[in-house]
Amino acid sequence: MTDNVLIKVENLKKHYNGGAVKALDGINCEIKKGEVVVIIGPSGSGKSTLLRSLNLLEIPSSGHIYFEDTDITAKKVNINVHRQKMGMVFQHFNLFANMTVLKNMTIAPVKLLGKSKTEAKNEALELLKRVGLEDRADAYPSQLSGGQKQRVAIVRSLAMNPDVILFDEPTSALDPEMVGEVLDVMKELAADGMTMVVVTHEMGFAREVGNRVLFMDDGKILEEGTPEQIFGNPQNPRLKDFLSKVL
């Protein structure tokens, strides 16, 4: 395996009801360090399932996922250690409702990385400053707007200093006017060289920020290429049809 491959997926399958439903039907792909890979496709195409399989929130039925040269689908692997290096941002934010913004961000670094409370707090405040939320450190999630919640969710995953962040439709639950502030944070991250895998319906983001776009349907990757290829010169009829509807 080459050095700069961070995640490698081999013939990944996820079947429900004894194979009647094939959410993932033989996925092969690679994600390189520093790359922003955007996964697009119609709903039910398996893109979220693929993303959630990467950190084993979904347990694949068969196939392999290599993360930093470790097969995390192997039986003896302690997935918790690897998940510390794979941040995840959810469609519905999933901030811990009973904790302040600061506590949301520090609980994992303190309990899992053994950082001192002060150290974790200072790092968290620094990250909050980056996304313009340092004054909301003591707020509870219920007191934040959707866009603020998602920005906190992003810096919460950043606080673990991950090697990759998985974004599962990060702007789909937001009011239209809040989409921009979240995408701006993501663009900055990409510019800083963070490896990102993004499932999204924001074609503008895919085109502007993505290094590579995967088009999925029926649990398969039907087309893969640079944003120019995918949006400028699509080959697969399903992709052409999809783009004609969303663009």
């Binding site: 950190n55 959810f90 999933n94 901030l95 811990f96 309990k111 219920s142 995953s157």
Partner: protein
Amino acid sequence: MQYLSIMADLTAFLEKLNHVFIEKDRYKQMLIGLLNTFKITAGALVVGVIIGVIIAAVRTSYDKNKESMALNKGFGYYALSIINSFCKFYLTIIRGTPVVVQLMICYFIIFANARDGIPVAIFAFGINSGAYVAEIFRAGIMSIDNGQFEAGRSLGFNYLQTMKSIIIPQMFKAVLPTLCNEFIALLKETSVAGYVGVVDITKAGNTIAGRTYNYFIPLLTVALIYLIMVMILTKLVGILERRLRKSDR
């Protein structure tokens, strides 16, 4: 004239009170009864919560992990399925039979040699309450959005850490009113402890009523004492609830 008659009524009432509670130090029996009711309730509460936590943990762990564990059926999978079945069996038996019957089975059959009924009562009421508390906790855990759980796991917390640091604190807040309900029910259920010879507050009141041929005063006093205890408990839980509600807007 009217004033005098009220005075006469009051004097008669005080005399009755004196007869019922003060003569032969019968109030002491009430105090002992009150203390025993308190002991049984507090003991059963602790036993019930411990049992409840364990069973709710087993049942939710089984429900949440059976899919992933079924993939590589190891020892843990079989152990958890067996324990889970046992928990279900326990819930069925305990919730399917009256607590008085369970109490008498404990005292006259299982611990037939016991001389003191209080530990047996604590055991029986604890086992009984545990079944209800388990279901309350389980419902509470299930009511927490799965996204909270996934967020915890995606940060790298293992199953137990996620439960302990993220799910349980939220669950506790959600179930507090229902849990308070169960504690109130438990407190009042202990009034059947007299069946196994324990002098609780109800038994004490009943005994005094029988001795003095006066049912009105002792039984109403017993009712009043339960009422006051329940009101205090409700108040305390209310305070706790307000404190925990800090994170809601």
